[in-house]
Amino acid sequence: MDYKAVIIGGSAGSFQVVTRILNSLPKNFPLPVLLCLHRLKHVRSGFVEALSLKSRIPVEEPYDKDQLKPAHAYLAPANYHMYIELANRIALSTEEAVNHSRPSIDLSFITAANAYRQKLIGIILSGANKDGSYGLKKVHDNGGTTIVQDPNECEVRTMTQSALQLTKVSNVYTTDQIIKYLSKL
């Protein structure tokens, strides 16, 4: 399958998982990786640095209208929604919080699903609320591939269980399986 992007959403308990995934990706990973993770809105720095430590692909917080590149990870900046526009660009927004969240995982997933349709891989990780469920459904409805972290492995399982309730996902994977899956792309 000819994919265009991977999008990952997570909240409480997802940091370690995201770090492990990023650290496992090869320097020439063929796709952009979009990260929408719940974070403190007033803490602007530190997060991207922590994710970058052992990652072989650069991890950055995008500026508005930045062009997406393969083998780069883009972390939704604090207190902004991160949308994917057609033409492979990021668009940031300060619109109202959704599910008390800005960045909203749902909005990142919905806009990425609109932009990439079946050429998108959406992954939902550990988290303590239901954000991301609706977005993952949209990825599914547009023909994209949907993966949810195995709730048994999640530090907090609300987010993954809620996603599984709403969508018949392509795969339920442990972190190791997610890594293995991505390494074959």
């Binding site: 809105k41 007033h42 602007r44 917080e61 995008p62 500026y63 508005d64 209208k65 930045d66 900046p77 207190n79 902004y80 949308y83 994917i84 526009e85 057609l86 668009a91 940031l92 927004s93 300060t94 619109e95 109202e96 800005r102 909005l107 806009t111 609109n114």
Partner: protein, 276 residues
């Protein structure tokens, strides 16, 4: 949930252009689509056709349309580090050196979060009387809203946390009163601000402005419109005038960057080059 397609959105652009001569076609597609979908739901409409029908048959509705497609500021004192910089590194010296009145323009105000913040900072510096502030809005409803002072409780809570990080010299609670469902900001803070409605092309803009506060607005436009609006702002600034943008709005990739000096990129502060 109403989901609009590209065809619906083009039809809305066309209607608004034909009847009201407003061109939204260079607005960033994703956020504009979401604003329209939100507007449709909030006004109990069912789809693009009902919105277009209302735009065609109810001219009074257009002001509400303009209000609801605008994105309000998220809170007051967003990015406290910027406001500390404004207080400590910028405003007192800049106002002191200024020949003539210090003119500040806050374009595209929607709910007044940035405007109230600026006014509080100026009051705390005891400099409010030394400046002329012009706030422009694209809808009349925004002017009413800002002058009424009403503000969401959740936003007040976040603003209060920001104000603590800003380390202002009062209690933030002294700037508002709490009602049951809303907070009401002290409108005395903005009483000398001049309000004006503008159109989205910024025709009839002020001249010789020393500071334009325009944070998190460019993100709602496509790069070509961003460039055009920044060129316009450039023309409104006096030589050496400042432009403050949102912290994730980078103008480095636009041609207009050559006409500005980067003062504080982390906080989005630029200065019009003298003689350029």
């Amino acid at each position: 949930m109403t989901e609009l397609g590209i065809v619906d959105i083009r039809e809305i652009y066309k209607t608004v252009k034909e009847i009201y001569d407003y061109d939204f076609s260079q607005y960033a597609m994703t956020s504009f689509k979401q604003r329209l979908e939100r507007l449709i739901i909030r006004n109990n409409m069912s789809n693009a056709e009902s919105l277009i029908h209302k735009l065609k048959n109810n001219p009074e509705f257009f002001d509400l349309f303009l209000y609801e497609i605008s994105v309000p500021s998220t809170e007051m004192f967003r990015d406290p580090s910027l406001w500390r910089w404004v207080r400590e590194e910028y405003l007192p010296a800049a106002i002191d050196k200024s020949i003539g009145r210090y003119k500040i323009w806050v374009p595209n105000c929607v709910s007044g979060g940035e405007l109230y913040t600026l006014a509080i900072v100026l009051h705390e510096l005891d400099l409010f009387d030394k400046v002329d502030i012009l706030a422009t809005t694209i809808s009349n409803k925004s002017i009413e809203y800002i002058k009424e002072g009403k503000y969401d409780l959740k936003k007040i809570e976040v603003s209060d946390e920001n104000y603590k990080r800003f380390q202002g010299n009062r209690e933030f609670t002294s700037y508002y009163i709490l009602d049951r469902y809303y907070a009401f900001r002290d409108t005395g803070i903005i009483k000398d601000v001049e309000f004006k409605k503008q159109n989205i092309n910024f025709d009839d803009s002020p001249q010789n402005v020393k500071l334009i506060l325009f944070r998190n607005n460019l993100i709602y436009f496509n790069p070509s419109l961003q460039e055009k609006i920044l060129q316009h702002m450039y023309n409104c600034l006096s030589a050496g005038g400042y432009l403050i943008l949102g912290i994730r709005e980078k103008i480095r990739n636009l041609n207009i960057i050559n006409d500005f000096e980067i003062i504080n990129e982390a906080e989005g502060v630029y200065k019009k080059r003298i003689g350029s």
